[in-house]
């Protein structure tokens, strides 16, 4: 019976940790071999699995147990196909993660669970784990005395940080005069050329052209990820940077000490994904829309607004 295929994999993994599952794994293997050679499984493992499942279900719902018992082969096939389907989808996710840095493909803006379990920065996985940074060092913009203080930890080759860029620009315009925005570069090791891009942006900052260059990097993010230094230097040229100064800064890693400081601050803050914002010390993880930020900023003003935000979050 096809269910043996899954049983074999499950027991094989369990056998690594406990010897008592090894005979079951062997039985499963035998059964798999028989099944794929179109012969009936004679180990009895399939019968035991069926009996166990039906008996357990019988305790709760005799009707459901009857249906399962009668159509067990169909349910088995369904279960096996779903398992292999989800396995294939997971492999596809891993492939995307390896190639694009997120499991849903290059254009996705959804969060990826794999970000949490890989890389140096994956030890934390909940907003509640985050610790508010204690300073406003970084690439800054706006009024240092403004009432709205937003810190962003971002990675220049991360598609999610790129996705959030329009929102950041919108916030800077909408809250002009009130906002003090601080960007702390936090290059993720699982994104190609993330350190190179961060280093280049800091070098551009030294020439007073941070915003122009940063915009170009996000715009050409795919090329930066694939071609690295070559693409970055071309972008620097297009942004009309002084290339001698830029090359000196970039090639000699002159901004690495500063970059290391931001990375350490990110680790101290328990950053586990980019972008992560602190909106007046309140953590917001992932790329959000301008509306969502507005809600975060203004919802305390009135109950009506707060309810509106909640409904908006639920709907969107």
């Amino acid at each position: 019976m096809v269910l043996c295929i899954i049983a074999f994999f499950v027991f094989a993994v369990m056998s690594i940790f406990s010897a008592k599952y090894r005979p079951l794994a062997k039985e499963g293997l035998k059964c798999v071999f028989k099944t794929i050679t179109f012969r009936p499984c004679d180990t009895g493992l399939d019968d035991r699995i069926k009996a166990r499942l039906v008996s357990e279900l019988l305790k709760f719902s005799p009707g459901a147990a009857k249906v399962l018992n009668k159509h067990f082969v169909i349910f088995s096939w369904l279960f096996v196909l779903l398992t292999f389907g989800s396995l294939a989808y997971s492999i596809y996710g891993f492939y995307n993660f390896y190639v694009y840095g997120n499991c849903d493909g290059p254009d996705s803006v959804n969060g990826c669970v794999l970000n949490d379990i890989t890389g140096d920065y994956g030890r934390f996985s909940e907003p509640k784990d985050l610790i508010v940074p204690t300073n406003y060092d970084g690439l800054t913009e706006g009024n240092p005395n403004g009432t709205l203080k937003i810190i962003e930890f971002g990675c220049f080759t991360c598609p999610y940080t790129k996705k959030a860029e329009d929102t950041v620009q919108g916030l800077l315009q909408e809250y002009d005069g009130q906002i003090y925005y601080v960007f702390k570069p936090f290059p993720l090791p699982n994104h190609n050329n993330s350190f190179e891009a961060a280093r280049a942006v800091l070098c551009a900052r030294d020439q007073g052209k941070m915003w122009e260059f940063r915009k170009e990097v996000f715009k050409q993010q795919d090329v930066c990820r694939t071609d690295g230094t070559l693409a970055i230097k071309e972008l620097a040229q297009n942004a009309q940077l002084d290339m001698d100064k830029f090359n000196k800064c970039y090639d000699n890693n002159e901004t690495d000490a500063e970059l290391g400081k931001y990375v350490q601050q990110g680790k101290d803050a328990h950053i586990y994904a980019t972008p992560t914002f602190f909106v007046n010390d309140k953590p917001v993880v992932g790329p959000k829309t301008l509306d969502q930020f507005r809600c975060e900023i203004e919802k305390k003003d009135s109950l009506v607004k707060e309810i509106g935000c909640l409904l908006g979050q639920w709907w969107g």
Partner: protein
């Protein structure tokens, strides 16, 4: 009988298990386990070979054991041969019997493989002419095929798939009237029913089905027949003198017991007979009749199909059953999930299963002295739930 459960360590250690597979093998009481251990603790020597104190004591004790087991079936101890099980006994008779004058062997289709296979083998070798008597759906067999050409009749006294018994004395008389001998497979009969060897020629039974350890059984023969029977194997302890050109076999049953025997098992076997005698085989029969009735009622109320006679009368506490469209193994496995141990399959009697209409196998419930009507009730409750799956 309720108190008996505490003698059985398996039941004490697993109080939630209902063991209903005694036709396969019975559980062993502590008394038997201790008797087996006694050999290793107090004796530990060879019997019939060593003249030292321990050897002599072992020999004497074994002699007493032989007498106890023989008496259990009302036989002479000089006609009892220790075997591994009933299967070995049946093979000794089939292969050692003198078929030089008559070649015909009559048996029935409702027999264990241990009866049929040695005979089929001899038939295929051209050594005997085998007549396998058929049966009706209820397992009734007509032995009128026994005639003056018949050398040997082989039959069970109680069978292991239907739980029904045979009128062995009548069959024995028919065989004797025709100048034939009768060999009875007592594997299911001896443990559950008072058995009298008086009218029989050969009787084979296993210890493990009657509370004794595994690996020990007995073949009981009339001493006249013993002398004519050829042993299946020979070796140390089976011969009187050995010269390279001449071997003189022992005239006694030791001729069939080459090599060191399963002494501990024999101690346990005798102890099992003592245990059953203490209860009394009449009491055992009475208790099993109650169990047979209880099982029957539970099976009927659960809607199960019973193979063989649809009545608890003259039935041992053993039934093969099934549900329409249900696989026998599925039923057994689901009962096992509820800690009820029964057997499923063909019970080493495939031709018989075909004849009674259970060609795809059946589930078998079989009780013994340690089972109670409460066990039958619990079995019935679970069976009713399982029946929901197939109704």
């Amino acid at each position: 009988m309720k108190e008996i459960k505490k003698d059985f360590p398996v039941l004490v250690n697993n109080p939630d298990i209902v063991y209903l597979d005694s036709a396969c093998t019975s559980l062993k009481p502590m008394q038997v386990i201790e008797a087996e251990m006694e050999y290793y603790k107090k004796f530990g020597a060879c019997a019939g070979r060593s003249s030292h104190r321990l050897g002599r004591e072992t020999n004497q004790r074994l002699d007493e054991c032989r007498e106890k087991v023989a008496k259990f079936v009302n036989a002479e101890k000089d006609g009892l041969i220790w075997t591994r099980n009933a299967t070995e006994g049946l093979n000794i008779v089939a292969n050692g019997f003198d078929f030089s004058k008559r070649k015909k062997v009559v048996t029935s289709i409702v027999e264990h493989h241990s009866v049929l296979l040695p005979l089929i083998k001899l038939r295929d070798q051209g050594k005997i002419k085998l007549d396998v008597v058929g049966c009706d759906k209820e397992g009734n067999v007509d032995f009128s095929k026994i005639d003056r050409e018949t050398a040997l009749v082989v039959t069970n006294s109680w069978n292991n798939i239907l739980g029904t018994g045979r009128k062995i004395n009548e069959i024995a008389k028919l065989a004797h009237d025709n100048g034939a001998l009768i060999c009875v497979d007592g594997a299911q009969g001896v443990p559950h029913h008072k058995t009298d060897f008086k009218n029989l020629d050969f009787l084979c039974f296993s210890g493990h089905k009657m509370l004794a350890p595994t690996g020990i059984g007995a073949l009981v023969c009339k001493t006249d027949h013993l002398a004519k029977l050829k042993p299946l194997m020979t070796g140390g302890g089976a011969v009187k003198t050995v010269e390279l050109n001449k071997v003189v076999e022992l005239p006694t049953q030791e001729r069939f017991e080459a090599g060191i025997q399963h002494y501990a098992g024999i101690f346990g076997f005798a102890s099992a007979c003592e245990y059953l005698n203490k209860i009394g085989m009449e009491e055992v029969e009475k208790h099993e009749a109650t169990l047979a009735k209880a099982f029957y009622e539970e099976l009927k109320s659960a809607g199960a199909m019973i193979y063989g006679p649809d009545s608890p009368q003259n039935h041992s506490a053993l039934y093969s059953f099934g549900f329409k469209n249900a696989k026998a193994h599925d039923i057994a496995l689901m009962l096992d999930r509820e800690k009820i141990a029964v057997r499923s399959g063909f019970f080493c009697a495939q031709p018989a299963m075909e004849v009674i209409g259970a060609g795809d196998g059946a589930t078998r419930v079989s009780g013994y002295i340690y089972n109670t009507p409460e066990d039958a009730k619990r079995f019935g409750e679970i069976l009713k739930k399982i029946n929901v799956l197939y109704s």
